[in-house]
Symmetry: C2
Subunit: 228 residues, 2 copies
DNA sequence: GCTCCAAATTGACTTAAGTCAATGACTTTT
DNA sequence: AAAAGTCATTGACTTAAGTCAATTTGGAGC
């Protein structure tokens, strides 16, 4: 338990836990375990019995759905510090999605019964969970909208905007290979390649094997069908 | 306020309120208003400022997203007694979806600030909201899965199963015209028509202009890619 | 009965996007 | 440096599903 100081610091960053005293945090930490995963390892899989409530401490994880022929659609990419699988932990049902470690990953986990005990003991956890769930809901509704009304081109344009939102206009293709973008946009790597080529020809992006640079944000927004 | 006894009975059926005393329910009712809507009237629209938290008392409402060319994708059809627009009420953001009255409708509504006051006063509301949100989340994840991996044929097969789940093997086409099924399955009325014809030729359903009868549940499940 | 109407059906066509296979470019290993 | 491996790119083809425009159907009302 030499990890408790370190962990408590991390758990404290989880919005649900931010109003709690140090002693309470220690209590909470003791209710769960630290689990580590290697890159590309499955943390849990959809339809399996509830794996519990996780907090991502280090690394990056992907929440995804997999199709009958091994296709993969990514719902969300998570960075620390954040909760996940809270839906299954709440209702005790099967994991709704598959969760893969996209890097070396450190998590903290509580079984869902214990999680319920904690919520009883610290009602604050439950209340802040409401915000998380509301946010997740909005994200999922946005996905529904995208898949209902946007073409692959529009979805990819939107995704490029999102990727560049978090920093510069440059996207490192070794971090985001076509296969990964395809999974996020719900299409194939070939379609990504062709769409990127189109954007390149139109001088909306510059693209080498190593990186994509956004040249014309305005037109990308138009293609993404985003009206401001 | 002659409606209070009637309303209190209805609100009591909302899971969030079931543990509350009569006096508390009266307090809650007074915090909101009863609103009525005609068939096909908009109760609120997506992207507009938070319309508040609603409870459906009577009638049926559709939660939907609308596309740039007037297309419509239905996320959910609600029957009493149930809450809706809780996401916007929680975070105070814009309504995430459009809500249409599918029949004459009676609702009860609280503005989101008052809703927050109520949650403070009656924490039970917040806790049971967690369950609702978890359920909504699972529904949305299922939609994501459907749109990612299932063809129109598979989605329609699934929808027919869902419709017949709630009763017999017979579906009244005057209640569920092609346009409506298309909106639920995220496709066009023509595609619904063609798919129904295919199912008819394959003797999986019988279909007249008035009603659809499911003949072969097993094969419908297979087409819907549902494995039990 | 007949008329009118909205919805369903059907045909013909277009199109976005998936599939499969070949090639090319860069990286890592040995 | 050669070999192997991975990923991107491109071409050729297929296919599911959307579009548009008749045409048909089965009421609802007269």
């Amino acid at each position: 338990m030499e990890m408790i100081p370190h962990l408590s610091e991390n758990l404290h960053k989880v919005k649900q836990f931010e109003d709690l005293a140090y002693d309470d945090i220690v209590t909470i930490i003791k209710a769960g375990d630290v689990l580590r995963f290697h890159k590309d390892e499955a943390i849990f899989r959809e339809d399996e019995p509830c794996a519990g409530m996780f907090v991502l401490i280090q690394g990056e994880v992907h929440l995804l759905k997999s199709g009958p022929e091994g296709q993969v659609s990514i719902l969300n990419a998570l960075s620390p510090v954040i909760m996940f699988n809270e839906v299954a932990a709440l209702d005790g049902g099967a994991n709704p999605v598959t969760c893969l470690a996209n890097t070396e990953v450190t998590t903290w986990r509580v079984h869902h019964q214990k999680f319920h005990d904690l919520m009883k003991q610290f009602p604050q956890i439950g209340f802040s969970l409401l915000n998380i769930l509301a946010r997740r809901n909005r994200l999922l509704i946005a996905h529904f909208d995208d898949l209902s009304f946007r073409s692959v081109q529009a979805r990819l344009a939107k995704h490029l905007i999102e990727l560049s939102d978090q920093g510069t206009r440059v996207i490192d293709r070794t971090r985001f290979p076509n296969r990964l973008m395809a999974a996020r946009v719900v299409t194939t790597p070939e379609a990504v390649s062709r769409t990127l080529k189109f954007l390149k020809v139109e001088a909306i992006i510059a693209s080498t094997r190593a990186r994509i640079t956004i040249l014309d944000f305005e037109r990308l927004l138009t293609l993404a069908q985003i009206d401001l």
